[in-house]
């Protein structure tokens, strides 16, 4: 049982009874869920007692949840928000980005196993905004070799908006937004601790997370630490990719307090990553043998990235009669150092970010709700002494205001949103200053039937050029490119049409989601036929009439004759074009098949809970841009099982194998593709989770 606004999670006893001694703000959504049952949500008014009955559920293709983005039920959303618990995503992959890439329409762009970026419907980097508990993460995401910068430590849920999302999140959310929410607090009683330890064989990766949760009256706290280390990963040929090693440390703590009309959360998070950059060579065309090693090491060598992130966030929610006021203040710093030498950095940049946002939600009538808000942001980019300075010292100032009107009656919901943003980019030495402003809009319609649900939406967004696109002039060592910016670039503008149709029966559920995205003034980094400093030149250029279209489908089948068997299929088909040419770095078509079998509960000491078999087929990508090479098709088998031990009620074990057939494959979005370096070979994994 989750009290959504206070993020307090509790559970019933074996008889299904529960009690909670917290001040619950009026109109708070209380969410009830149980595995294999349809979840239910009620709106708390002032009752002392509530009685809830959950109905048996066979198919949960799109489970109803409360969105952390706007505190609305997913069944009432007009925009397409995909919500997943982290525990569902990292069942067979202990890497945040790899887990997210299991969602339809989501891919990963990787540099080995340590540096990974999210790609949403073909767009990534600055075009996908990442938020953690409502705070926008600014962590040098402009670089092709700059990873997501944090792990799944303490994250309970992720929500994904595919396509333009500027109306809620402001500038840059052209490709989509990832909204991560921390795990919930406990409702009271004794402190609870959790230990999660994982191991993967291909890179001998170990990762340990330890968390403690404690609640006393209106005070709640969660504190977690993490340490992980991975050696060079093993290729299917048995060799190891030299310098694909990495390590990470993290610490996060949150402190919450609430009364019946005020909720406050103070959160701090620290992440530190040491990330080897593989495939480093001074040869023009190094061979796989030159770039790999017969032995496996984990100590840091060169070239290496050091990435340090601190984030501090204060969230306030006030309940004033039937209205809700949110005020968030956050401060973060991100330092990125790239070393090729041992003692002198090639690049040493610190990005400081301060953000203030406020929103006010009020019902106008029983059917009409109005939300309006504003966001202010300031980013400061500062270089420290290093061999190169790819982007200059400067600042970005943001100011945005939006208004959302929502009409809801019976099974019909519509939403209209408008937003205005202003952004100023200025260099510290006053040699460059540019202002951008833009309007964004969204219109969404949603209609629910007995077994059906259809959403139709239009949304627009814009993205201003980043410092790197405007002012780069130097070697970017992480990508081995000499990058040249263009001061005359203007903002990209995106318009997306999205239709999602969902049908759910007793044993079968399906979602069909076609979309069309038009982007004007798209900024592309194009390779040029010239060399500077022994490095190929790439130039940022603006192209018009970029279109990305596709269809995403999900099917969940649960046969009546085999109640323990579940079959899930997801399919992603997409194509990106620039005029009559294909757009570079577009993900290939992909299908994922998951078959899961749940075992009956027995009296045995070791209880096999479920076993799963997964097949991921990625089609060949031959719709490529000029100077881009095609990629071959490949299929991967993964296997696993979840085990619990009856004598230790709070202990779970997951074991399995990824890439069972030791298939040698190269993703179209791998940055190591040009060196013909394959991904990991067969890898055994184990995950232990214990709660005290």
């Amino acid at each position: 049982m989750l009290v959504s606004s206070t993020m307090v999670l509790t559970q019933t006893d074996s008889k299904g009874q529960f009690s909670i001694s917290l001040d619950i703000p009026k109109n708070t959504l209380i969410f009830f869920s149980k595995e294999a049952y349809a979840s239910k949500t009620i709106q708390y008014t002032s009752e002392n007692e509530v009685s809830i009955q959950l109905n048996k559920l066979h198919v949960d293709i799109d489970e109803v949840v409360v969105s952390s983005i706007n505190q609305k039920l997913s069944s009432n959303q007009t925009i397409n928000i995909l919500s997943k618990k982290m525990s569902q995503l990292n069942e067979s992959s202990f890497d945040l980005v790899e887990g997210l890439s299991r969602l339809s329409g989501v891919e990963q762009s990787s540099t080995g196993t340590g540096i990974k970026k999210i790609v949403v419907r073909g767009l990534s980097g600055m075009r996908v905004v990442t938020l953690l508990n409502g705070v926008r993460l600014e962590n040098q995401q402009w670089g092709g070799d700059h990873g997501i910068g944090f792990t799944d430590l303490g994250i309970g849920k992720v929500e994904l908006v595919k396509g333009p999302a500027s109306i809620i999140f402001g500038a840059d959310a052209l490709g989509g937004a990832l909204y991560f929410s921390d795990e919930n607090y406990i409702s009271g009683g004794k402190p609870r601790s959790k230990l999660i330890s994982t191991f993967e064989s291909s890179n001998m990766r170990i990762n340990n997370q330890l968390g403690v949760k404690w609640t006393r009256k209106a005070f709640k706290t969660n504190t977690l630490i993490e340490y992980g280390s991975a050696a060079d990963y093993q290729l299917p040929n048995g060799l190891y990719l030299f310098n694909s090693r990495y390590s990470n440390q993290a610490f996060k703590t949150s402190l919450g307090y609430n009364t019946d009309n005020w909720i406050v959360n103070l959160r701090y998070q620290y992440n530190y990553g040491i990330l080897g950059i593989p495939a480093h060579s001074h040869d023009a065309e190094p061979t796989l043998e030159q770039l790999s090693s017969s032995s496996q090491n984990r100590y840091p060598t060169r070239p290496t990235q050091f990435n340090t992130q601190h984030s501090l966030n204060l969230e306030n929610t006030f309940f004033i009669a039937d209205n809700t006021l949110n005020i968030n203040l956050s401060q973060s710093t991100n330092r990125l150092e790239e070393f090729e030498a041992w003692t002198v950095p090639e690049l040493d940049i610190t990005l400081g970010s301060t953000q203030l946002s406020g929103s006010y939600a009020m019902p106008i009538s029983n059917t009409l709700n109005w939300t309006f808000g504003t966001q202010l942001g300031q980013q400061e980019n500062t270089n420290k002494e290093a061999r190169t300075q790819l982007i200059p010292d400067g600042s970005i100032t943001d100011l945005g205001a939006y208004s959302l009107l929502e009409y809801s009656k019976n099974s019909f919901t519509s939403q209209l949103g408008l937003r205005f943003d202003k952004r100023e980019i200025e260099l510290q030495d006053n040699t460059f200053s540019k202002e951008f402003d833009a309007f964004s809009a969204t219109l969404g319609l949603s209609k629910k039937g007995q077994n059906q649900h259809i959403r139709v939406s239009y949304s627009s967004a814009f993205r201003t050029p980043h410092f790197s696109e405007l002012l780069s002039d130097g070697v970017h060592h992480g990508t081995k490119r000499y990058e040249i910016g263009d001061k005359n670039l203007i903002a990209e503008k995106g318009h997306q049409f999205d239709i999602a149709y969902e049908w759910t029966g007793e044993h079968l559920g399906l979602i069909i989601n076609p979309y069309f995205h038009l982007i004007n003034d798209f900024i592309a980094l194009n390779p040029k036929d010239s060399i500077i400093d022994n490095t190929q030149v790439y130039k940022y250029e603006q192209v018009d009439n970029v279109t990305i279209k596709g269809i995403e489908m999900n099917v969940h089948y649960h046969p009546h004759f085999a109640h323990h068997l579940h079959f899930e299929e997801s399919l992603t088909i997409m194509e990106g074009k620039e005029g009559n040419s294909f757009l570079a770095l577009m993900p290939a078509h992909k299908s994922q098949t998951l078959v899961r079998y749940y075992f009956d509960k027995t009296q045995k000491k070791v209880q096999l809970h479920n076993t799963f078999f997964e097949y991921v087929y990625t089609a060949a990508q031959d719709k490529v841009a000029e100077n881009e090479s095609p990629s071959k098709a490949y299929g991967l088998f993964n296997l696993g099982m979840n085990i619990s031990i009856d004598k230790i009620p709070n202990f779970e074990l997951t074991i399995g194998v990824k890439n069972v057939t030791n298939k040698s494959y190269i993703s179209h979005l791998s940055r190591l593709k040009s060196y013909e370096i394959p991904h990991e070979g067969r890898s055994y994994f184990i995950k232990l989770c214990s709660t005290l």
Binding site: S197, I206, S229, N243, Q290, R302, K647, L692
Partner: protein, 96 residues
Amino acid sequence: MFNTLKITKMKKVSIIMALGFFFACTDHDECHECHIAWENAQGQEVEVEIGEFCEEDLADVESNGYTLDESVVVGNDTVPAGSYPGSDIHCEEHDH
């Protein structure tokens, strides 16, 4: 009985986990073999080994460069004597 068993097993698990936190901590030396990376007329890199450098000497050669007193013949190329800046000095591992 049940609680004792549970606590004992959990303790074992906790100890294994705690050890895991330190599993990956390995030391690395502070000395590295360095070379001058010189580009010949064909644009190919030619390496001239200049020996092992440690700690402050390593920082000095990477920051301030290295002076090659005499020309060095490497295969068909002759790397000229002279001062090479820190950016031409490479001490990272390439061959494995």
